[in-house]
């Protein structure tokens, strides 16, 4: 395959050699694609909640409300990041079975997973996860309900800002609503491989 490398590079050089000039790298205002009108003057946590609703995700500002929502849906067994559970446990109370270890052999036992988010993007209603913040990738993905704990100060206004802040983490994932498909006759179905219910708990 070293041969393939040399062959490809030499074909690329050969293909480009006849060009008298190359297309320049355009310079542009990074804000070009930002939905300014939507963001201007808004409280970012409020805007985030509003935009999440639009992609059929939910935002809460109290842990007790999340616990009520889970109970109402019958999702009482789940996983929680061990670093978060001490603060959350008092709001959940009895009636919940919560593990702070995720056993991949029993992936279907967890109806919900609670992990920390690295941030969020208000403009698009997006939750930002990364390897540093997420205790287990699987716990944020496999359960039917995912609850991401988002710090108010970590909400970006727009995607351009979020790209600029990608940082050094080896894996960053933006989650905009629940997992979905429209493959069967164009009908929208939520919860294909990932969560069918996506929640942000803004703290």
């Amino acid at each position: 395959m070293t041969d393939d490398r040399e062959a490809i590079f030499s074909r690329v050089r050969g293909a480009l050699a006849p060009l008298r000039e190359r297309a320049p790298l355009p310079q542009y205002d990074a804000d070009m694609a930002v939905l300014r009108k939507m963001i201007a003057g808004r409280d970012l946590a409020e805007l985030l909640a509003e935009r999440m609703k639009r992609v059929s995700a939910h935002a809460y500002t109290s842990a007790a409300a999340v616990a009520d929502f889970l109970k109402a849906g019958g999702w009482t067994r789940g996983y929680c990041d061990p670093a978060l559970w001490p603060q959350l446990a008092p709001h959940f109370g009895a009636g919940f079975t919560v593990e702070t270890d995720f056993d991949r052999k029993r992936v279907d036992d967890y109806a919900f997973g609670i992990t920390r988010a690295a941030g969020a993007v208000a403009e698009s209603g997006t939750i930002v996860l990364n390897d540093a913040a997420t205790s287990r990738r699987l716990a944020a993905l496999a359960p039917w309900v995912h609850i991401a704990v988002v710090e108010r100060a970590a909400i970006f206004s727009d995607l351009t800002q979020a790209v600029a802040a990608l940082g050094q983490d080896r894996n960053v994932i933006w989650v905009t609503g629940p997992s979905k498909t429209a493959d069967v006759e164009g009908i929208l179905i939520e919860g294909v491989h990932g969560p069918g219910v996506q929640i942000a708990l803004i703290v």
């Binding site: 074909r11 480009l16 992936v107 496999a142 905009t176 990932g194």
Partner: protein, 461 residues
């Protein structure tokens, strides 16, 4: 042959397939347009800019490819190069064999379709399972995708339910929610058993070596949460110069393809998992695939390499809407495919040289393309190439008689005068069914041959 090949394929299309392809492409296109124009003051300027970014990237691949290779290596990924489909398949096989891996879960990647990876691995005794719902259904039916974003746009729920029943995924049930739930249950255990997760890449930043993957279902994320080895198959044209360019392209991709502000999962991968993270690949391989792309780069159609595979040109195309995807006999259907597929055939170009002709050159594809590819111009260049290479052109009426007439002034004048006779022919009575069907709905305008010349002569005096 009486018709162009694409007509023959589309003539055999079932009525409900045609209707569903037409309906869903049309509605996606309309939502796309509304979204872009509601949200942005100048969406066309954004498309032009995205096109300039990608054009710059492909015209500087000689700089960016070595740069991205160095970045990826520094990030801890292993980089491979594959000149052909065979060598890309062989590279995947070798990685799997070296690890003693037997099971792969695959996210959707067009390159893997192009190189027919799943079949290749199966032939070598390895399992390669599609996880995108549509691609999974295509795989169990041994079918082909017919749209680059919506692989089973040509199937209805009843057909899918029948396939699921046949595969032992439960008793017949054609409710789309049930179908999805059954696939969810079946596939999640497959992810957890698999040794290797294979993905494509929507973009690769030369600046950071970040690979960007977008999906709505979350299947590529599951591949990267459950398996220990990640292989990314990447066409060499997927490069973007800088991270900041990603926000322009991502803003356009979801809106153009599926009328979403942003695709549900947008993942930025710059290496194997972080050491402290329990889940995810410890090993990451990136295979850069040429498979004809350098020929495209050398051609006068290199603009097509800007394509970000959004599918918007398929959705808007009047030919695709009628013919559906299989009529293009290629991995890439629709307007993008009419350009890319013949080019990727390399010296077998004549086999697909008819595709550029299956277009009315209406220009709609260019207008919706998020990277502003002048598809109609490229189609014309390819028609020209077919002519120059003397590729036979089935379905095109012979133009010899017309050419003779048009080059002989006397013959031309005689024909113009003779044409007046047409005004007295009762078109409706001519015993040719096609002509009768045509005349049923339309009337020929009165023949006025020669009037223009008369008018010219008078003006000249």
């Amino acid at each position: 042959m009486r018709f162009q090949p694409i007509d023959q394929y589309s003539a055999g299309l079932k009525a409900d397939t045609r209707a569903s392809v037409y309906q869903s492409t049309k509605s996606t296109h309309e939502k796309r347009t509304k979204l872009l124009f509601d949200q942005f003051a100048a969406p066309d300027r954004l498309r032009e800019l995205a096109g300039e970014i990608k054009q710059h990237a492909i015209e500087n691949l000689d700089t960016y490819l070595p740069q991205v290779e160095a970045r990826l290596k520094a990030n801890g990924a292993q980089v491979h190069w594959a000149g052909t489909a065979e060598s890309a398949c062989a590279a995947v096989l070798k990685i799997m064999r070296d690890r003693g891996a037997t099971k792969m879960v695959k996210a959707k990647t067009m390159v893997s379709e192009e190189i027919e990876l799943a079949h290749y691995l199966e032939k070598h005794g390895l399992e390669a399972l599609e996880t995108d719902l549509g691609e999974f259904i295509v795989q169990i039916d041994d079918d082909h995708p017919s749209h680059i974003v919506r692989p089973i746009i040509h199937k209805n729920r009843r057909e899918i339910a029948t396939s699921f029943e046949r595969e032992g995924l439960g008793a017949y049930n054609d409710d789309p929610g049930t179908i999805t739930r059954r696939a969810r249950h079946f596939l999640r255990h497959k992810y957890l058993e698999a040794d290797v997760g294979l993905t494509g890449a929507n973009f690769v930043s030369a600046e950071s070596g970040r690979i960007v993957l977008v999906t709505n279902e979350g299947n590529s994320r599951f591949c990267l949460a459950a398996t220990k080895c990640h292989i990314a198959l990447v066409g060499i044209e997927k490069i973007v110069p800088r991270d900041r360019d990603l926000s322009i392209l991502l803003n356009l991709l979801g809106r153009s393809g599926t009328a979403q502000d942003l695709t549900v999962y947008t993942e930025f991968i710059s290496g194997p998992k972080s050491p402290a993270q329990p889940d995810g690949p410890e090993e990451m391989h990136v295979i850069f695939v040429d498979n004809g792309r350098t020929e495209v780069l050398a051609s006068d159609c290199r603009e097509i390499l800007r394509c970000i595979r959004c599918g918007a040109c398929l959705n808007v195309c009047p030919v695709y809407r009628q013919a559906s995807g299989h009529a293009y006999r290629s991995v890439y259907p629709g307007p993008v495919g009419a350009v890319l597929s013949p080019l990727l055939m390399k010296d077998k170009f004549p086999q697909k040289a008819d595709l550029p002709k299956a277009s009315s050159l209406c220009g709609a594809c260019n207008e919706v393309c998020p990277v502003n590819i002048p598809i109609p111009d490229l189609l014309l260049r390819l028609r020209n190439r077919a002519k120059e290479e003397n590729v036979p052109s089935p379905g095109t009426p012979p133009m010899g008689a017309w050419a003779l007439m048009a080059s002989q002034p006397t013959a031309w004048k005689a024909a113009l005068a003779g044409g007046k006779l047409l005004n007295y022919v009762p078109t409706k009575l001519i015993p040719v069914p096609a002509l009768q069907a045509w005349a049923d709905k339309r009337a020929l305008p009165a023949w006025r041959g020669g009037e223009f010349r008369k008018w010219m002569r008078q003006r000249a005096q």
